[in-house]
């Protein structure tokens, strides 16, 4: 029996990649949240250690970033957050590199810093970025703001005049750390002017494009090989270590590997802290008539994908409801905190928390059962969402009913809570895939979907095999190398199974067409099986697949769309991620400790392609939600992370995971992504349950202390 190399420890993750003559990188980081870099002195560093400072990258594009070019490889004139890269070294051993950075002397002049997004937009706030170019599709509107997403439908704010009852409240969600088991890891080397990067990334084509811009090269001069990741959860999207590793390798003329420490993870990329003020208006019978969402997203020192987070979180906070008058004002603001970016549950976690707590506050006010209130207002097929999109394949009510049944909602709702959500997928989006017959008569699947532990190859082999009418054993997945795989937007937003299933079907049809051409028959007369290819009705014409070596089918799937940033109208998502959760808790009224007695998630999965994989993803996603609900939160003091280790920042241990149940609802024509559906709904359901127990909490995480502070009866 061959054991899975992930179990034997032989599996090679990003941090295990190595090549001959490789050096090890370390980064010198700023101790200040905001300071001028007056001087950098590397003269004490031993000669054989390669150093990288601003002078070494002066010939490159000064800044990079996936949405706004605002981040330097190493600091230029100022540092903008505690942990900002100031210089880097590459040495023969990690230890030597560590010692070398301690020998670099940097002279700083501290400057005032700002950590709150509202404060940061004030006239007196220190300006983070001076002279950067904000792309035309973004709408900065005020000091330190990189984007403001607005949506207006119906009468907008004026719609509240039609409400009998209006409730409003403020909600907050803390920053969180991804805590992938494997840290960020990148290996870069140059060969004949071509840059090769072996890196754990969810976004190989973004990294290739952005490295090309940074190093002023054609994209063809850059090759990204995706190393399988020991977890990512959004942390390994867009460029992280790739620029500094490539710049060090360029100077050293040697391969350079960079691997972050656990402490560095906490200052590299986190989940956006966010604050919401929400108003919801309804008629006395519980029909929603107006909603306004006022949101502030703290994106830290660099925008990363913050503008997209503020857009998606802005409309996620509307919820999957039929509301004729909606106003969303969602702002993404720079502060001197470490940057925030993509995080499993992408922006929906924050938006759904605020939105679904608000739905329960309205239910309380109206004296209507929260399930009844939701069902009365949920989007159905044919309804318009606030973006103007007409709903199809709406399963919100099915998900919600399943969740409610699982906690015996009808048997009384004391200590119970529900939540339901709509989450968009990356739109517009494009996926290419190829199916090639190799010399051994196997089908090689060329796909850029990255493996971060979700094992996409199982689902994609199944899809290709089914589309071709072959057994999955005949399909192998080729190397994830930008030299070999067709373009794919990225492996994010639970899009891969959906996009790939469509693209693979196309590629299979294309391959069948090409095989049929060989036989000079119409594709519908082609018979394809594990034994070979043949023609219907003529068994003697059958040929083994090895006779068809080199034939290749290509498939592309594109979803158009996008929202107008000023009105929020357009296509937010080609299809909707839909999920609900229910929870039952018991709260110790004297200590505030919450125990989860029942927890259920109901996720719309479309057609499930890989049942064990789907179940594992939803279980992991649920546990992620429990962590966010109960105690995960990064604490900052003057911009410094004060719990940047796994003793002070806790994630759930196995004993913190209650018995929980779930449904993967099947139906429809498509496969739906489900890798992050439980993350947003679980905290909201738990929060609503804690509120139903007499503690109307408003912030995540729901710490024991915050539960006591929120007690209705003291």
């Amino acid at each position: 029996m061959t054991l899975d190399p992930r179990i034997t420890g032989r599996f090679e993750y990003g941090q295990d990649q190595q090549v001959e003559g490789m050096l090890h990188a370390r980064i010198l980081r700023s101790p200040h949240a905001h300071a001028k870099v007056l001087s950098i002195n590397t003269s004490e560093v031993p000669q054989h250690v390669v150093t990288l400072t601003r002078d070494d990258v002066a010939d490159l594009e000064p800044l990079y970033g996936p949405m706004v070019k605002d981040q330097p490889i190493v600091a230029r004139d100022r540092v903008l957050h505690v942990g900002d890269a100031v210089a880097a070294v590459a040495a023969g051993t990690p230890r030597e590199a560590e010692e070398a950075i301690a020998l670099i002397e940097v002279e700083y002049e501290e400057m005032p810093a700002v950590f709150d997004p509202v404060d940061a937009t004030g006239d007196a706030a220190p300006l983070l970025h001076d002279g950067i170019e904000i792309p035309a599709e973004l709408r900065p509107d005020g000091r330190n703001m990189c984007h403001r997403f607005r949506l207006q439908s119906g009468l907008g704010q004026d719609g509240f005049e039609r409400a009998d009852v209006v409730v409003e409240d403020t909600f907050a969600v803390a920053a969180a750390a991804h805590v992938a088991m494997e840290p960020h890891a990148t290996l870069a080397y140059w060969e004949a002017g071509r840059l090769h990067v072996i890196t754990g990334t969810q976004t190989p084509f973004n990294v290739r494009r952005d490295l090309a811009a940074l190093f002023r090269l054609s994209e063809e001069m850059i090759r990204i090989v995706v190393a399988p990741m020991g977890g990512s959860f959004g942390a390994k999207t867009f460029m992280r270590l790739e620029p500094v590793a490539a710049a060090l390798a360029r100077k050293a003329r040697r391969p350079v590997r960079a691997v972050l420490t656990r402490a560095e993870e906490f200052i590299t990329i986190n989940r956006h802290p966010a604050r919401f003020h929400i108003r919801l208006g309804a008629t006395r019978d519980g029909t929603f008539v107006a909603k306004s969402v006022d949101a502030w997203w703290n994106t830290g020192a660099y925008a990363d994908c913050g503008p997209s987070v503020c857009t998606k979180g802005g409309y996620a906070a509307i919820g999957p409801y039929r509301i004729p008058n909606v106003n969303v004002d969602s702002r993404c603001v720079y502060t001197h905190l470490p940057p925030a970016g993509a995080f499993r549950g992408y922006a929906a976690t924050q938006g759904v928390w605020a939105s679904e707590r608000m739905t329960d506050l309205m239910a309380d006010r109206l004296g209507i059962d929260p399930l009844t209130l939701r069902l009365r207002n949920l989007l159905r097929n044919g309804d318009s969402f606030a973006t103007g999109e007409v709903m199809h394949d709406a399963r919100f009510a099915d998900c919600l009913r399943k969740a409610a049944e699982a906690v015996d909602w009808g048997g009384g709702r004391k200590n119970k809570g529900l939540a339901v959500m709509l989450k968009g997928m990356q739109t517009p989006s494009r996926t290419g895939v190829a199916l090639e017959i190799n010399a051994g008569g196997h089908i090689v699947l060329r796909s850029a979907t990255t493996d971060m532990g979700q094992r996409p190859e199982t689902a994609q082999r199944n899809l290709a095999a089914e589309a071709l009418g072959l057994s999955p054993d005949l399909v192998t997945v080729g190397s994830n190398d930008t030299d070999l795989v067709p373009f794919d937007t990225r492996t994010t937003s639970s899009r891969s199974t959906f996009m790939m299933s469509n693209a693979i079907r196309e590629a299979a049809n294309d391959l069948r067409r090409k095989i049929a051409q060989r036989f000079e028959v119409a594709p519908e007369d082609l018979v394809l099986s594990d034994e070979g290819a043949g023609v219907a009705g003529s068994p003697d014409l059958r040929r083994p697949l090895t006779d068809l070596t080199g034939l290749r089918g290509d498939g592309t799937f594109v979803t158009p769309g996008g929202l107008d940033p000023d009105t929020g109208q357009g296509i937010a998502s080609s299809h909707w991620h839909q999920a609900a959760a229910s929870a039952e808790v018991s709260v110790d009224p004297e200590t505030g400790v919450t125990s989860i007695t029942r927890l259920h998630t109901a996720v719309y999965a479309g057609s499930v392609v890989d049942r064990p994989g789907a179940e594992l993803q939803n279980e992991g996603s649920t546990i992620f939600g429990i962590g966010t609900a109960r105690f995960e939160g990064i604490v900052f003091e003057d911009g410094q992370v004060t719990n940047g280790n796994l003793s002070d920042y806790e994630i759930p241990s196995i004993l913190d995971v209650p018995d929980f149940t779930y449904d993967l609802l099947e139906g429809g024509e498509h496969s739906h992504g489900l890798g992050e559906m439980a993350v947003p709904v679980v905290p909201a359901a738990i929060g609503n349950a804690v509120a139903a127990a007499g503690h109307p909490v408003r912030n995540l995480p729901i710490t024991a202390e915050s539960v006591l502070d929120a007690s209705l009866v003291r």
Binding site: R630, E650, I651, D656, A704
Partner: protein
């Protein structure tokens, strides 16, 4: 940066002689769960480690009139010892079993948790309530110190630069002993508050002696004998339990950390002391 020297003495005498010679530049290393964090974070940079794994006798568990636990006995061994579990000291095993996770308990030692004097620990709180003492050896001899005097504050102990904690001595506990670990976050977390109660009750359930110790709320375990005095000589009632809890809450100094604010800890002390004593009242 120099690599620290690594010493593996073969006897206690050799270990303390080394320490006396190297002084504060050397650190004894037992399980390493705490020391490794300090070194990794650059909080200490010892020039030498004196590893105690090869020193014979430090891993003994002895049960007689007292319970004696050698400095190198791991948490897991205390937890899993059927001898301890079946003795009057079962509460000690139960307390060590509540520390962190099995992986940590396999490594962390009795001597380590006492010498680290990290406020957010479980065993010191119970052991102070049980009147435990530590035996310290140096080249010039041996002394015993009450644990309540040994732990002086945040990461500070009475251990001399040339001394080694060789074992922990726990006298036979009274009939009623409890330790309540209150966690505000994960099940593997350190305590937000720990409350130990050690009480002797007579046949009529009258309270003959009572020690209540609260831990993990400030630099060292805290005890207020005067507050306990009202319980003596009679059965403990709910009212008495509530009053002692209230007084502990008032008297204890508390700090704020990731596990809870100082004010939250004050509220919890009242609740947890009362609840601990209520089991005596029942």
């Amino acid at each position: 940066m120099e690599e620290p020297d690594w010493h593996s003495p073969a006897t206690i005498e050799e270990a303390v002689a080394l320490k006396a010679r190297l002084g504060d530049t050397a650190t004894f290393l037992a399980g390493g769960t705490f020391t490794a964090i300090l070194v990794a974070n650059g909080l200490i940079r010892p020039h030498a480690f004196i590893h105690l794994a090869r020193v014979p006798g430090l891993d003994r568990i002895e049960i007689g009139d007292d319970l004696r636990l050698g400095a190198m006995v791991t948490h897991r061994r205390v937890e899993g010892s059927s001898e301890i579990r079946q003795s009057s000291w079962a509460s000690v095993a139960n307390c060590f079993a509540q520390v962190a996770s099995p992986r940590i308990r396999n490594q962390a030692t009795v001597g380590g948790v006492l010498c680290d004097a990290d406020y957010a620990s479980d065993p010191p709180t119970l052991l102070v309530a049980l009147g435990a003492r530590v035996r310290l050896r140096s080249p010039s001899g041996e002394r015993e110190v009450m644990l309540s005097d040994f732990i002086q504050g945040h990461y500070e102990t009475a251990l001399g630069a040339d001394e080694l904690l060789v074992d922990l001595v726990v006298p036979r506990p009274p009939r009623h002993v409890t330790y309540v670990k209150f966690r505000s976050r994960s099940s593997e977390d350190r305590p937000c508050v720990g409350v130990a109660v050690a009480a002797e009750v007579d046949g009529a359930r009258r309270c003959q002696s009572l020690r209540v110790v609260v831990g993990a709320v400030s630099g060292r375990p805290q005890e207020f004998p005067r507050a306990c005095a009202i319980a003596l000589g009679d059965r403990i009632t709910i009212e008495v339990a509530t009053e002692i809890g209230h007084q502990y809450s008032e008297l204890a100094s508390t700090l704020s950390d990731m596990r809870g604010s100082a004010a939250y800890r004050k509220r919890l002390i009242a609740v947890l002391v009362r609840r601990s004593l209520e089991t005596l009242a029942a």
